[in-house]
């Protein structure tokens, strides 16, 4: 009995989740943005880590449009276009920047 309820629960979960995925773009990390695609920054981690506020001061604030221009030949770092400028950053840094692809 419990086994069947669990199965129903799992199936319901899958059905509910599948629908939105088909229509809504997903919030992902800047490091995962596809080459040539544009996205809008949703969230930057807060805190006064040496680099985070510097990234904001370079123009990466929530609401800013960014575009992934290319990845380095070895895959890391990535080059992005933001506010008309080009910046390169490591994936380990870009990973913390949450974006919504357009």
């Amino acid at each position: 009995m419990r086994h069947n309820l669990n199965r129903i629960g799992v199936y319901s979960f899958v059905i509910i989740c599948e629908q939105p995925f088909a229509f809504m773009p997903v919030i992902t990390s800047l490091s995962d943005l596809a080459i040539g695609m544009t996205a809008v920054i949703q969230d930057m981690p807060t805190g006064h880590d040496a680099y985070l506020t510097r990234l904001r001061e370079l123009g990466l604030v929530p609401g800013t449009k960014v575009r992934l221009v290319r990845r380095a030949p070895l895959g890391d770092p990535i080059e992005i276009s933001v506010r008309g400028s080009r910046l390169a950053m490591r994936c380990s840094e870009a990973k913390h920047i949450k974006i919504l692809p357009e």
Binding site: A50, Y51, E57, M89
Partner: protein
């Protein structure tokens, strides 16, 4: 988010009658500020260091349209007045009038890269809020136009309240207009209110009250000084006295408690302000047009072609360094020889002549001989920086470098050090992160430089009887030494990253500037400037230490031939003294003298051993020396130069710091003796341990 009325923050009036007008150039890195500075001052520049840091202070003189003499100061490139490094702390402090050695500028020329306008305006708007008379220069207008950007200069000028001058410094366009603007009597423009929310503004005021009494503030009356002080995130907190630091931190924490994330709110507010400012001023095409930069990057950053171009270009650079430097280095040696002979012929024999010839002339020669390599390397580095290619190099290799805890920008200095560490260390100036730069400086001498080659050659040929063993083995041993040094460098880089300057995360955010046509004049000027600094700073130290070492090898004087002279000198005695220490490595006191002498320079080892074994012309032909060394015996009859000892000695040379010139340059680049001494310590310690390992381990294994 509304701003409240800003308090006026105009500083005390300066008595302009008593001194010349001081004009400061302020701007982001890579905005062409230095090119502009060079044009305005010609070659009439003075370069020094701000006390206590490796931040260069550049001053010069320029004349206005009316012939008035203007003092110009090129402040370091900065992205924001919220300092993250000593460079930015200096910019903040000079503009707020906090520095004793530099008065507050009378006029500020804000240099911006027109093709990166939004980001450049971040610093620009911060500075404009300080209330100094200002001129805004939009440099690199050609790049902006190529991107099909249209900027309404008149509207921008009206909104900001300052003259706006379009410029293309490399082509000389806009210079005259700038000079004209600098000549006009500029007034402090009406203050604009910083885009700070009212609540935060009020909270800042209570912080200011706190700090006023303590004397931490110089510019009493304004809220901006305390704001930038509590937003100081330079790990060194340069420019802030230790006594005030705790109060400033307390002020920061108080604000943070009240408004968590307030600094980020301020940044976002400022960019919002900039966006509003540029509405109608800056018109960009919807899609980013593919510029020349994009087309070039498609090749130069291509997964495959990029590597091809990089290797090809670097090959060209290093080939040039090796081949083109040969000739001039030979001339310098010949010249040195000629001068020495002339002095010897003109002066009576004696100590003074000896000092002149073997101390001073040899010492100076030892410094000047580096010039060809430095000039060539910095020519290419200047070219790479000027065109923008340097960022691309760092971009390509960064992944590989970060694995060992280095920065992509460490690549060129590291590679250069395989030729010679002296220009390599000087080239680390381009590394922005203090921690990365320091670690790079500390490890590059482990890259086996060309001075080690004569030592390797001598020891390999002593160790390996040529007749029976193919040359392949010799090459293999040489390569092994190179590999050992390289892995040693990576190992220590990894170690230092974990242990030194802990808590400082190195940020790898690199600006990728548009490609620019290089200015030959700028590059030549840069090249000569680096050479001049080397001669003046490092040169004096090298000369001084060379003379000291010469004295140690010459005095106290004794009778007999050169060999016994050396044996009885201070250096010789020192050799005896350290023999017990180096015996576990398999070395005797004669090798000890060689090691002491080669502390000056590695290649000196060969000629020193030649003197000790009384062999003539050991520099030119090592065969006789080699034979002597093979025949050398300990008092009990055992041979000194067993294969194991040769390997042990070579390993010692791989790791030991044996180069006065490197020490001098490290001292200059780190602004003190702490790090050079640390470097000597760790490298010599590593050399001792590795040598010990090889010799004792080898003995145990029965070699």
């Amino acid at each position: 988010m509304s701003a409240t009325v800003a308090e006026t923050s105009s500083n005390v009036t300066v008595d302009k009658n008593t001194r010349e007008t001081l004009v400061a150039l302020v701007g982001n890195p890579n905005c062409g500020k230095s090119t502009l500075f060079n044009i305005l001052t010609g070659l009439k520049q003075k370069v020094a260091n701000y006390p206590g840091v490796t931040v260069e202070k550049r001053e010069g003189v320029c004349f206005s349209q009316h012939g008035e003499k203007l003092r110009l100061i090129d402040l370091p490139g900065a992205y924001s007045l919220n300092a993250r490094s000593p460079d930015e702390a200096v910019v903040r402090d000079v503009l707020l009038g906090r520095r004793l050695d530099t008065p507050r500028p009378d006029v500020v020329v804000l240099v911006t890269d027109a093709s990166n306008l939004e980001r450049n305006l971040y610093l620009t708007t911060q500075v404009l809020e300080l209330g100094l008379p200002a001129i805004l220069v939009l440099n690199m207008m050609d790049v902006a136009e190529a991107k099909e950007w249209r900027i309404d200069l008149a509207l921008l000028s009206a909104r900001l309240g300052v003259p706006v001058i379009p410029m293309q410094a490399t082509a000389g366009k806009g210079i005259i207009e700038l000079k004209a603007a600098m000549s006009r009597k500029l007034e402090a423009h009406p203050l604009r209110h910083p885009p700070i929310p009212a609540e935060i503004y009020a909270a800042l005021d209570s912080v200011r009250q706190e700090l006023v009494g303590t004397g931490a503030l110089h510019n009493i009356g304004g809220l901006l000084e305390p704001l930038y002080l509590i937003s100081d995130h330079d790990p060194e907190h340069y420019g802030i006295e230790d006594a005030h630091l705790s109060r400033i931190t307390a002020g920061h924490d108080a604000l943070e408690k009240q408004f968590p994330g307030w600094e980020d709110v301020l940044v976002a507010a400022r960019y919002e302000f900039i966006e509003q400012l540029l509405l109608g001023v800056l018109r960009r095409p919807e899609r980013e047009e593919s510029t020349l930069t994009d087309k070039l990057d498609a090749v130069l950053l291509h997964p495959f072609l990029g590597w091809v171009c990089l290797i090809g270009f670097l090959g060209l650079v290093f080939y040039s360094i090796f081949s083109l430097a040969e000739g001039p280095m030979g001339w310098i040696e010949t010249g040195q020889g000629m001068i020495s002979e002339w002095v010897e012929s003109k002066m009576p024999e004696g100590d003074l002549r000896d000092l002149l010839v073997n101390g001073v002339i040899a010492g100076v020669g030892g410094v000047v001989i580096f010039l060809p390599q430095i000039l060539i390397l910095f020519f290419f580095i200047g070219l790479m920086e000027d065109t923008g290619y340097m960022s691309r190099v760092a971009f390509i290799v960064d992944r590989f470098m970060s694995k060992v805890g280095l920065n992509g920008r460490s690549f060129v200095p590291f590679l250069s050090s395989y030729a010679c560490a002296v220009p390599g260390i000087m080239a680390t100036r381009t590394i922005a992160s203090v921690k990365d730069r320091l670690i790079t400086i500390l490890i590059v001498p482990l890259a086996s430089c060309s001075a080690r080659v004569p030592v390797y050659l001598l020891l390999i040929s002593t160790l390996v009887p040529s007749a029976t063993v193919p040359t392949g083995i010799k090459v293999l041993i040489m390569l092994f030494m190179y590999a050992l040094g390289t892995f040693g460098a990576f190992g220590f880089a990894w170690l230092f990253n974990r242990t030194l300057m802990k808590g400082q995360s190195a940020l790898m955010v690199l600006e990728m500037p548009s490609y620019k046509r290089p200015s030959v004049k700028s590059t030549l000027h840069y090249m000569l400037e680096r050479a001049r600094i080397f001669l003046r700073r490092a040169g004096t130290v090298i000369l001084g230490l060379s003379i000291l070492l010469w004295a140690a090898m010459t005095y106290p004087k004794s009778e007999g031939d050169e060999s016994s002279q050396l044996a009885h000198s201070l250096a010789g005695k020192a050799g005896h003294v350290i023999e017990p220490i180096i015996k576990p490595l398999g070395f005797d006191w004669k090798i000890g003298i060689g090691l002491i002498a080669s502390f000056a320079a590695r290649e000196v080892f060969v000629s020193t051993m030649g003197i000790i074994y009384a062999v003539e012309n050991s520099d030119d032909d090592i065969t006789p020396l080699r034979e002597h060394m093979r025949a050398e015996q300990w008092p009990d009859g055992k041979p000194v130069y067993t294969p194991l000892v040769c390997v042990s000695l070579m390993v010692f040379f791989v790791f030991a710091m044996q180069c006065l010139s490197t020490v001098a340059v490290v001292k200059r680049e780190t602004n003190g003796w702490k790090w050079p001494l640390f470097q000597i310590g760790y490298m010599t310690g590593a050399a001792y341990l590795m040598s010990l390992l090889v010799y004792q381990g080898g003995t145990l294994l029965g070699f």
